[in-house]
Symmetry: C2
Subunit: 174 residues, 2 copies
């Protein structure tokens, strides 16, 4: 099987980084829980929103992201049985491209460059499974779309859902 796996919010914790930066710079007290059902930038005062929306354009933002729990061990096992690709809609942020490649080298060295995709629209992907947090990516995918839980999609319905990598592992090793 060909399995595509999104990066941000699926294997890389962007929410955590947004919150960490915001709290540090504006003496804030945001938490992931407070951002449930929405986006981080929408949870800050209007005067700070522009700053949060530009986090992703900063040099180093994508280098610092924490790995989502258990994604490494499950993907390592999956990649032994299946053709696993990382597919990130990264082209919006040219500064992120090399950082994302370096981040994958560091945390997912078992996914070789041949299996890494930085793109825009994801409906050009041809494969069996797409694991992604964003509904608009899943809607236009031809195969089995699995929505990975993220604070912004806790109220989203209509997709097969995985709340953790352990749950994903169970689904995909059935």
């Amino acid at each position: 099987m060909v399995i595509f796996v999104d990066m941000d919010e699926v294997i890389a914790d962007t929410y955590g980084e947004h919150i960490k930066i915001y709290n540090a710079e504006f003496n804030g007290s945001l938490t992931t829980e407070k951002c449930s059902g929405t986006e981080v930038w929408k949870m800050v005062p209007e005067a700070h929103q522009e700053s949060v929306r530009k986090h992703a354009t900063r040099t180093g933002f994508f280098k610092e992201l924490k790995v989502i729990d258990h994604s490494q061990e499950v993907l390592l096992q999956l990649s032994k049985k299946h053709d696993v690709y990382i597919a990130s809609a990264a082209m919006q942020f040219p500064n992120s491209l090399e950082e994302k490649s370096d981040w994958l080298d560091e945390h997912f060295p078992f996914i070789p460059w041949q299996n890494r995709i930085l793109c825009g629209h994801k409906h050009i992907l041809k494969g069996d499974i797409l694991i992604d947090d964003r509904s608009y990516n899943l809607t236009n995918f031809d195969g089995r779309g699995i929505q990975f839980a993220s604070p912004h999609n806790v109220h989203t319905e209509g997709f097969e859902r995985a709340n953790s990598w352990l749950e994903l592992g169970e689904k995909l090793f059935e």
Copy 2:
């Protein structure tokens, strides 16, 4: 229609740049004609081959590439009628990623980030047409593959061929 267009040797002249750098650094007299049917690095003395093979890892290499004749005008017209994507197997060279994005901004601003793909294997692409110079990319593509002429593929057979962007324009606007 969804049309994928490769970068190196299809819209960006890597051969010309390899030859320019080699001749400047080794006082060479290579020409594109001399490299017909082979790769640039195979046409230099063995002691210089490693140097040529590493051109693509240099900062700035992809920034300097000349645009292949008529690719801009034909792609501009194509992109008005079709869903045109640039798809480059760039992940092997992390240094190239941002440079390729910048180069597209400069020379192909009408192809938005949503329609840009930096990848490894191209058999994960789902669309109607792939224009590429490399046989291994065309072989595994499900749709119509068109081999774009490049010095290295002058003797390659088995694919529909386009010798220039003017010819491609005629084919695709039929």
